[in-house]
């Protein structure tokens, strides 16, 4: 396998789970630095807080304010080891079960408690 450009081809790329379902984008990548070893690409982060941090202090403040307003205590973020990467292309496939990810909590909650309650929300393809 050739060289992977972390900024151009990895961060912000669409993630899919092992069923090819979209599960978010790479909001942050964590590198592990150890003396005498090359930096290791360790962890994929999917998280609103991580995104906010990339924009700047004001965005972090906004993010916190929204959380406080919604009475949300924990940040719904997922950290997936980079080992779980199966394939890097237009999308990055992770060997994970999308339904169990913490970062998809809102999607699941909306699906069960809001959208799912309106008639015609689920069933066969349209």
């Amino acid at each position: 396998m050739g060289t992977v450009h972390l900024s151009r081809n990895v961060i912000d790329t669409q993630l899919v789970d092992r069923h090819q379902q979209k599960i978010g984008r790479i909001d942050e990548l964590l590198l592990e630095l150890e003396e005498g070893k090359p930096p290791r690409v360790a962890t994929i982060v999917i998280s609103g807080a991580a995104r906010a941090r990339r924009v700047g202090g004001w965005m972090v403040a906004c993010h916190r304010a929204v959380h406080a307003l919604l009475g949300q205590r924990a940040e719904h973020e997922s950290r997936v080891p980079f080992d779980a990467v199966r394939c890097i292309a237009d999308t990055i496939e992770l060997d994970v079960e999308g339904n169990t990810l913490e970062s998809l909590r809102l999607e699941r909650w909306l699906s069960e408690h809001v959208i799912g309650r309106i008639p015609g929300a689920s069933g066969e393809r349209k």
Binding site: M1, G2, T3, V4, H5, L6, S7, R8, V10, I11, E28, L29, L30, L31, E32, L33, E34, E35, K37, P38, P39, R40, V41, A42, T43, A50, R53, R54, F82, D83, V85
Partner: protein
């Protein structure tokens, strides 16, 4: 010795200085390759691309623009270095340093 963790977005765009303390540009890209060690495969960073300024690099992705930018860059003094990982001192990730002098660094084509 325990490993430290640093976020990719904290490294991108950081100003890099050389051994003499001169600014040589900003970190524009981290290039990783797969490495097979201790029976496991890991992606590790092999070299850092450090360039004079990021905005130009962001634009300079396509054929046409690259040619255009190359022409313009001669005037603006745009330079890009490919720095092997073991030349880069990330002891303080906010102030990365290269262990060599600027004129020793390999230029990107």
């Amino acid at each position: 010795m325990s490993a430290r963790t640093v976020a990719l977005s904290d490294l991108l765009g950081r100003t890099v200085r050389d051994a003499d303390g001169r600014k040589i540009g900003r970190i524009e890209e981290l290039n990783a390759e797969i490495s097979l060690e201790h029976g496991r495969s890991d992606y590790v960073v092999t070299h850092f691309s450090v360039g004079r300024f990021k905005p130009l690099d962001m634009i300079a992705t396509g054929n046409f623009v690259q040619q255009l930018v190359r022409r313009v860059t001669r005037a603006t003094g745009y330079r890009r270095y490919e720095i092997p990982w073991d030349w880069m001192d990330l002891g303080d990730p906010a102030h990365p340093r290269v262990r060599r002098r600027e004129d020793e660094l390999p230029r990107a084509g």
